[in-house]
Amino acid sequence: MARIGVFVCHCGENIASVVDCERVAKISASLPGVTYATDYKYMCSDPGQDLIKSAIAEHNLNGVVVAACSPHMHETTFRKAAQQAGLNPYLCEMANIREHCSWVHDDHEKATQKAIDLVRIMVEKVRRNHPLEPVRVSVTKRALVIGGGIAGIQAALDMANGGIEVVLVEKEPSIGGHMAQLSETFPTLDCSQCILTPKMVEVAQHPNIKLYTYSEVENVSGFVGNFKVTVRKKARSVNMELCNGCGLCTQKCPSRKIPNEFDRGLSNRSAIYIPFPQAIPNKPVIDRDHCIHFKTGKCGVCEKVCGTKAIDFDQQDELVNEEVGAIVVATGYDLYNISMDQPNDKLEGYGEYGYGKYPDVIDGLQFERLLSATGPTGGKILRPSDGKEPKNVVFISCVGSRHNAKGITYCSKICCTYIAKHGMLYKHKVPDGNAYVFYMDVRTSGKRFDEFWRRAVEEDGLVYLRGRVSKIYEQDGHLIVKGADTLSGVAVEVEADLVVLATAIVPQPNIEKLFQNLGISYDEYNFVTEAHPKLRPVESSTAGIFLAGACHSPKDIPESVAQASAAASKALILLSKPELEREPLVAKVNEATCIGCFYCLRACPAKAITEKEIKNRAGEVLRKVSEVNPSVCTGCGTCVSVCFSNSIDLEGFTDEQIYAEINSVIERMSVIQQ
């Protein structure tokens, strides 16, 4: 006999301003199976939850319907409350009368009727609920971090220091990421390398960190607490154990005209190379696409000069398997290459700025390399075309960002502050030079960032012009920058020697393939989507996979580090439990009626279904049926819909419940029509 309690929440005015909550409660009280119904201003508050708990005890309730917001918001809250009152939590359900009703309707009468219907539906469901017990699964107490930039480094160190073994995978030959390329960091102007490299060393030396560089995550399977990961260790062509990092090979390599990625093409490197002096590991790698030996079978100079016989031309890619319980995604960003060759139709490039055509039109990271003491100019500001010191430098913000017509609508967030930094550092190095900044808005939000850009203007004399640049072209050895100063309403033309474009921050190219492999959701720009924009910002849409840094959205260093530590602590929380509890809302096979067609086995996206042999007492196999592994099943219901013999049901969403819910509405509809 059902004894259900209905609790109608006003949600302040969110629901009560449209829905007559008192009436909903009153009518709910008369529904079949309902013993008690009431309404309250904030059901999720402490007194609200107490109200539910005491009603359960007082009226001996065996089912609860909370008519309030979306179950995404508070299902856990109310199920916990029910549990505290001694009720099985899965006997508590929510009727969503906020998102599905009050927020989307204006007509008070109709909205109230709909709210009553929504309660009616849930009451019918709860009448057919039965107690469920959570599924328990074991946890592999190891973690994987994908990406060895500052976010990945921080997450790996935090987890490793927390006592967890961490596998860190970086696709480049060295960890460090973009932060290693930067000169000085805003707003304190401390040297990027000086604060980063100690952390890199710590990673390399940490007993709890297993580092795979020049490696990529090839495949991920499994589920929270029990992921199986395949890592491809790309052939380095150098035996890491034998190599002592002397660097002689890199000096003797005859193939030396390869654009240096670390300097973003502003210098050249050899085919066997160490990406930068502080690289971790500080051992070389052969770029097979440019190596003479790999192209022609000749040369082999590196092999000849190597004193430790570490060169291994025959080295092959290696696949290694790792088991982990949690994953932190920290794949970082790239800069939007605005030249005319674009990877997809969504992006058009900026032909009018001549990036790629004029050597003295460069992007923000290239300027970082010019500023950096380890850069191609040793930290002197010399322009790429002729090596002269530029006396007029133009910085342009929002190149690619915030531009609907050109494909990227979002703000890249860090540019306004780094432009102020660029201008400031330029003026420190070239005091008699002029720095002009074209901007749309100055968005230097962050601790002490606004003071920082004011300092750039007031103390260092950067000239800020509010307006966009329409075109850049070369004339008589100068770059003519044509723009507008919309504050004074005039067209502006600057004869520049160097132009620095703050191009948009975009995710790593083709990164969506990894995200698909991980089964995490991402947005139209390929940034990873967080589980909740406010309350779960470092969790992905998939349990056990966390996110850190600019793979989520454009971020500066402090934010990336904060997010990395947050992701690490979330992962540590997960891994601190002896075993995990999973929602028992999983598929269940009726072995008596299963005909063993195994359509479900093929349809299951989670690979949770296996064949099970039914044997007699003599141990002879009578027939085979499907079996669901509850720790793998995600409760998606695909198997239920493909089952020919109606032998699978989803706990918490049984056919009986769903039909009862539908019937309850249909019955009322037919009453109205009569």
Binding site: M340, E348, G349, Y350, G351, E352, G354, K357, N404, A405, K406, S470, K471, I472, Y473, Q475, I480
Partner: protein
Amino acid sequence: MRFAYYPGCSLHSTAVEFDISTRAVAPLLGIELVEIPNWVCCGASPTHQRDSILSYALAVANFNKAELVNEQIGVQCASCYNNLRRALFELHHSDEIKKKVEKVAGLDFGNNVQVFHLLDVFRNQIGLEAIKEKVTHPLKGLNVAAYYGCLLTRPPEAVAFDDPEWPTSMDDILQTCGATMVDWPYKTECCGASLALSRTDVVQKLSHDILKMAKIHGADCIAVACPLCHSNLDLRQKSIEKKFAENLELPIFYYTQLMGLAFGLSGKELGLDKLIVNPWKLLEEKGIGSKKS
């Protein structure tokens, strides 16, 4: 491929050679242009400055007339194109505007009308392959600066079929016709437009800058897709030369005239005799055509 052809006032008067060359080139590419019977003003210039609703109402009047021929409208004048496309944009995006416009026009707006610039049609519907097949007299050695002006691609949300700041469709077409396209920065600079009447000095300055920039980058001539650009660059070129004491001598072609030359049409069939800056000296020098043929 059939289009309701909207020539607009310029192509019936000052830019008649644009009309002539369009009608000559289009059929060769399998495009049938049927002029919209009794078309009226597109709503540009004085109208849209004065009252946007009236401007859109004129557009709706034209759409109604066009629907009798075809729902796809082909336009050549950049200003007509811009105005009709902007009217479409507003009508599709605001019910309030649509209601007002329908009331003023006394007509209903059918949602199915589409407006294309023929440059878009040539580049993206006909395609470069098909154009290439028609080229019999490649424009070999002719250095052309493609000039798009301000109206063809902006504002992008309403009109653009190409990159708003760095369009390439005219470059692509003329390159396919054998011309050498000049890489120059002033593709979308303002020529001064209708200030020609009220502030001729401004137009002279702006148009001079465009002509000069084309010249600096090695252009022999400029190709345009807008009657007003054409008149500012062509008709006023003599006065600009005088004012700035410079010898420019840059023939200004409609892009369809150059396409026609590549397709083997004669100067007469393309209205080359209507150009103010004499193109024949250049064309003969490059061996592309002669006035006599």
